[in-house]
Amino acid sequence: MALTPVNLFWCFVGVFLGTVVGVLPGLGPAATIAMLLPLTFKMAPTTAMIMLAGIFYGARYGGSTTSILLNVPGESSSVATCLDGYQMARKGRAGAALGIAAISSFVAGTAGVLGLMLLAPPIARFALRFGPPEYFALMTLGLTMVVFLAGKSMIKALLAMLVGLWLASVGIDLFTAESRFTFGQVELLDGIDFVVVIIGIFAIGEVLVNIESRGGAELFEVPKGLRNLLPTLQDLKDCRFAFFNGSVVGFFIGVLPGAGATIASFISYGIEKAFSRHPEKFGTGVVEGVAAPEGANNADAGGALVPLLTLGIPGGNTTAILLGALLLWGFRPGPLLIQEHPELFWGLVASMYIGNVMLLVLNLPLVPLFAQILRLPYYALYPFILGISIVGVYSLGQSLFDVWLLGFFGLLGYFMRKLDFPAAPLTLGLVLGDAIERALRQSLMMSQGQLSILVTRPLSGAMLLLAAIILLMPLTGKVRSWRARAVVQDNLK
């Protein structure tokens, strides 16, 4: 049924719109789906669902483009792609980065759909075992990825992470409706939007660093010839584990409602670095550093549809709107959806396979075109990045206050770069702050204030133990180097 010309056409429209939405920073798939929902009332429900789902996973593809070319994350789940993608662009490998992002997204996106098709009901039942203590443990595990994002100074990375967690606490407290750190500003009652912070710190901060010196005519080297604009066979071989890592991590974290593609991309990046033979090169422009997070944020889309379709539980804003759409059309998402409406479920699964192919076909030929953006003379590129940042942030809520905050975080991002404070841990803290606080307070409410609930439940205990091991890993490295130095000194005596 998904292969009818009408469905194929609307699948293409969905993935194309999703890619455009993903490229533009600030615009998200949730708002786009909400805006287009009324238009879908004249379509058959399966057709409409195919188009809307296409926007959902198309946006994950598009988010990598500005992350790699301009260090402007198009989506929150594309922040991890900036870490190595932008560095690859600086080395003249923008095309390879864009190409590997597209290929990895295709491979992991297809794996996510396979997972949805084969594992949906049992995985959904497993996801139900996740309560507040398990979510707290999962978020803590996500925060330990700071170990892999630390760079030269662990203290500075931890400081950045704690500041990110604090930023997440600004606004109205969820449980008591008390305002925190709002300084009397009404605009801060809703908290600080994540997109404002990441665009400020990454994009504006980067522009300010580049403004320091008068550059040449072209900012980055753009290789000539199609062959040099795409990933090599060696690149694809180097990314074999990243494809697998991104697929598995993205899918399983996507299944958990509320976990989000951002945490999936960071965990995938951390795992890739941990298992790499050259972890010290991560952050300088390695192809696996792009493939892993990009794969994870696409496999997450397939995973996020599991609780939605099998249990009727939306995992985030976008799937919540998709749930609303399903209810409007008279469907009841839940355990009986596959039996009562197999045409909807299997039509959607089939369209996701086709959509992933469409996205690859759409994006790979566009790689040389996108890479030409870097041919813009630098004096035009900087204002372009500033303009796109202002437009992206303003589009969130038409608030000039957000644009002022953008400027402030831009200055913060600049000084963080100058003083060697890594930005990724701050991002991680900001993304996970709300969720981790909510999970912790719910857990303590459940246990009447006993912290032991976090370690006595098997799943959360296991994840917290893993988090502790990861946090202690840098210390074992230090102990080994102290011992080695002591041995050398002893031998010299």
Partner: protein, 154 residues
Amino acid sequence: MGTRDKNDLVTALVISSFAVFVIYEASSLPYYSEYGPGPGFLPLWLGIGILVLALSLVFANLLGFARIEEGVPQPWTVVGRALGGWFGLMVAIALLPWVGFGLSFAFLTTLLILVLEGRSPLTALGTAVSLSLGFYLIFALALGVPLPSGSWGF
């Protein structure tokens, strides 16, 4: 003590002051209630964590544990250029409610190209007009994305 160590020391002292502020503000919020941890619970512990880490950075610098390779010291003029660019951005943001996105963005572009990059007025104006027009055509007209508008409605 090298330049980088001094920068780290000053930064750590600034962050310590920020941490004290966070602890002070969090202390005025309820820490615990009959239903569990209150709104002050996590911010208080975050403030304490930030203070501990900032003081660790201070001591690590004073005792020489956190030394990173010095590198070439940068003159203040390069920081001045960046801050000049940032100041131009903030002025452009301040102008948004008065003149709208088109004119304020054109002002920012002209400032960056003419003043900071030292290009000709023709290059600056040409780029400013092209980019402003491009943004309007792509975002406002083609995609229907709202741009900040001024007193004149655009």
